[in-house]
Symmetry: D2
Subunit: 121 residues, 4 copies
């Protein structure tokens, strides 16, 4: 269904989905930035749990296991969903934040100096 | 600048930004799902750090502090950026994942039963 | 039972309990520092989960709820247990590490300057 | 110095070190279980950061690098230190909690069935 893909979906549409879900349950009262940041970190840990005992190479093979991949997709949805819930509470534009951060990162890690190596290894 | 807002940006455009950044540095070799899930959890912790010693109420007032807000926006960018890097490595469509998860959540937390209360409180 | 209390138990005794558990299952092969650090972070998130939607004040009242307190004690056991598993793999003396860190912290946060306030608030 | 090793240090002695540090700064007011659980998760993430881009095998070689090992020991001290701060606030006996949890774990993962393999892999 083309209308549900990343190529055809704006960030604002996904944010609205999350905002509606929260509003319908009157959950904004629980969604202080402190609480949502905790929820986000907890979901990030649940995502990590899928890779915890695997070697780095074995973790790549998740891509070939549809059942595992669906579980991982679920956790990514939670992480991005809570990121949007937090942005909603604070009035942050995610696209601008990512664009600004990528520019900072490009200055910090110039492609010609960091090709094939991480700064901190 | 309208072209940089969430209303005018598709998820795919942001994913491409992240993919290009990784490709230009040949960093995909480090981006095993295991490693990226760790990076994501670390960024989620850095986001939490901004709210760590605040009361839940005080954490809402970050919205009125432009300097703090910019720092938080930076961390959200990192979290969503790594979520996209992970989705890129695994070939996961984020919009579909979020839509599917919101439907699951709506079944788990029917609005009429959970209005104003969390399931686990 | 006095023999099971913190006043009568050395750190080494607890480390030995953890080491025996790992050895009996031949799990040291999975206990690379990278993997154990992930396990530890995941348990820390599970601990946080108990306080996620509470206000800071309400979180103190867990102390009066024996059932909740037992769940929290379980999670603390996991966190400290994995910290010991990591120290076992790397040959780190925890008591020395804590004593050294407390001296550093005392220099960083002199009691007379930081009484009643955090450095970063 | 024998008196500073894990073999000669009770858990209660380390807890007292942490309790004194907190009391001298009147920081108990900030140490709600919610806040301390966040601090603990943040330190766990900082610990993970040392292993983030390494393969599982490379992470074992940290044991041979004294400078890196000292940094990791510092982070373990923070994690265990906050675990103790939380136990102090809630009146939890860590040794009893670990002994009880190890018994539960032994039932969940019988040595003869789980030798050389994890339950969830």
């Amino acid at each position: 269904m083309p209308s549900s893909t990343d190529a055809a979906t704006t960030v604002a549409e996904l944010r609205q989905l999350v905002a509606d879900f929260v509003a319908e349950r009157d959950w904004s009262q629980f969604h202080s930035p402190k609480n949502v940041s905790m929820a986000l970190a907890i979901e990030a840990a649940e995502l990590m749990e899928h890779f915890q005992w695997l070697t780095t190479e074995a973790s790549r093979r998740i891509a070939d296991d549809p059942a595992k991949l669906a579980e991982v997709a679920d956790e990514i949805a939670d992480v991005v969903g809570y990121s949007m819930a937090l942005a909603n509470e604070l009035g942050i534009d995610i696209s601008s934040a990512i664009r600004a951060k990528m520019i900072k990162n490009a200055h910090k890690y110039p492609a010609d100096q960091f090709r094939g190596r991480y700064g901190d290894v």
